[in-house]
Amino acid sequence: MDERGDYLRVNTLIVAGRVAALGLLIATLALFYVYMYLGKKGREVQIRALPAMEAIPEAVGRAAEMGKPLMYTIGIGGGLSDASQGPQILASMSIMGYAARECIRSGVKMDAFIPVADALPLAEETLRTAFLAEGKVEEFSPDIVRFISGQSPYCTAVLGYLQRERPASNLLIGGFYYESVIIAEAGNTIGAIQIGGTNNTHQMPFLIATCDYMLLAEELFAAGAAIGKDPDVLGTIKGEDIMKMVLLVLTGVGFLLGFARVPFLIDILKV
C-alpha cells in the first residue's frame, strides 16, 4: 500500500502543489495540438535549418570518398526507462535510421556502438528497417550493432575501434557522460568529421569544443521532425517556441512583481 497519502495533501482532486504544473502542461500540450492541426490543414511551419542534420549527408559522402566506415554511437545514457536519458536515446534512434539510409545508399559501412542494453533491440530493428526501406534487407547483419556494457569498457572499445578502423565520420548523438570528450577527442586525432548531439548540459561544452557540428538540447529532439519535414510534426516545434515566449513573459512579469514585492505570481505557481 502506497503510504504517500498519509502525508501528501490530497484532500482535493489534484495533488496540492501540482495544480499550476498541470495547468502549464495542459496549455503546452494544447498548443502543440493546435499547431499540429494547423499544420495538417496546410499552414506551413518554417523552422531554421539544423546544420548538424545537413552535415550528415556530407559526413556520409566523406566516408564514401575515403572508403572508410561511419561510426555511430549513442552514449552510455542510463537506459530507455530513464526520464532524462531515455528520450535522448530514442531521438538518437531517429537520426541513426536516417544516417543508416544515407549510408546504405552510398555504400558506406556503418558501425553502431550501443552501450545501453535495453536499446539494443530497438537499434537493430531500426537498422533492419533502414535496409528494408532501401531494398537491401539481405545486406543487413546484426553485427553492425556492437554492444559493450559499462562506461569504461565502452570507451576503451570505441577508442580501439577508432585507432584500428579509422572511420571517416563519427556521429556522437545521445545521452553522454564523461566518455563524450574521450571519444570525440580520439575522433579528432584520426581526423574524422564529427557530429555531436546531446541534451546533457554538463557534456555540451565538451562536444561543442570537439565536434564540427552540434545538436544542442532541443535540436536533438527536433532533428527527427526536421528529417521528414511533416507539417503536423513541425507544428509541435512551433508550439514549443510559443510556450517559450509565454515563459519569457511570465519571467518578466515575475521579475517586475518581485521588484514590487507582490507575491501574487509566486503564490499562483505554488498552488
Binding site: 530514442l90 531517429s94 535510421g97 543508416a100 565538451f206 529532439f221
Partner: protein, 218 residues
C-alpha cells in the same frame, strides 16, 4: 503481424503507461498502486536486457575469433575468456557463499584489474580535455576571444593559484559563472525540457519514427 507488433502494440502500451503515470502524479487516487507496479516492471525489464546484451556480445566477438579478424581476434579471445572467468567465479560466489564478492578470484579481478583500469580511463579525461582546450580555444573572432577570456578566468577561479596570481581573478571568474554561465545553463535546461515534452507528445501520437523503429528520410 510484425507491423502490428511494432507499431500498434507499442502505441497501445505507451499510451496506457503514459496515462497511468499522468494520473498517478497529478491526481494520486488512494490505493492506486498501478504506477508503482509499472515502475518496478521497468526496473526488471532494464535488467533483463543485460542478459540479452551479454549474448549479443558473445556472438559478435565469437564471430571475430572465428573469422580471425586481423588485429582484433586475439583481443576477442581474451574478452570471451575473461567474460567466462568472471561469470563462473561470480556465480560460484553467489550460489555457494551468498554474494559474488565472496569468491576470492572474482573479488581480486574486480579490485585489482577492473577498478584500476576504470580509474585510469577516467584520469585520461583530464588529458583529453587539455588537448581539446589547446585546439579549441583560439581567438579567431570576437566571440571566440570572449569565450577564451571567460574560459581562462573560470580555469583560474577553480584553482587556488588564481587568487595568488591576482586577488580579483576569483571575483571576475565568479561573475562569469553566476551572471554568464548559470543563466545560459537555465536556458538549455528549459529548452531541453520543452523539446523532451514535444518529443514525448509526438511519440504518444505515433508521429515519432525512432520510437517505433521506423526510419525517416527519402
Amino acid at each position: 503481424m510484425s507491423t502490428l507488433l511494432k507499431r500498434e502494440v507499442v502505441y497501445l502500451i505507451t499510451g496506457v503507461v503514459a496515462v497511468t503515470m499522468f494520473i498517478d502524479f497529478f491526481f494520486f487516487p488512494k490505493g492506486w498502486d498501478v504506477a508503482s507496479t509499472l515502475q518496478t516492471w521497468a526496473m526488471i525489464i532494464g535488467n533483463i536486457a543485460l542478459g540479452l546484451g551479454a549474448v549479443r556480445l558473445l556472438l559478435f566477438y565469437g564471430k571475430q575469433v572465428q573469422k580471425r579478424t586481423v588485429g582484433v581476434w586475439h583481443y576477442s579471445v581474451w574478452l570471451i575468456v575473461y567474460f567466462f572467468i568472471c561469470l563462473i567465479t561470480g556465480l560460484a560466489g553467489y550460489i555457494t557463499l551468498g554474494h559474488q564478492d565472496k569468491n576470492p578470484i572474482y573479488y581480486w579481478n574486480f579490485t585489482n584489474v577492473y577498478t584500476p583500469l576504470g580509474q585510469a580511463l577516467y584520469a585520461m579525461t583530464g588529458f583529453y580535455i587539455f588537448s581539446a582546450a589547446y585546439r579549441a580555444f583560439r581567438a579567431r573572432n570576437i566571440d571566440a576571444a570572449l569565450l577564451l577570456i571567460a574560459g581562462c578566468f573560470t580555469l583560474l577561479t577553480n584553482a587556488p593559484i588564481g587568487e595568488v596570481i591576482w586577488v580579483q581573478i576569483p571575483v571576475i571568474g565568479r561573475w562569469f559563472l553566476d551572471i554568464g554561465q548559470v543563466p545560459g545553463m537555465r536556458t538549455f535546461m528549459i529548452a531541453g525540457a520543452f523539446g523532451l515534452l514535444a518529443y514525448g507528445f509526438r511519440a504518444l501520437l505515433g508521429k515519432e519514427k525512432g520510437f517505433y523503429a521506423e526510419v525517416g528520410g527519402q
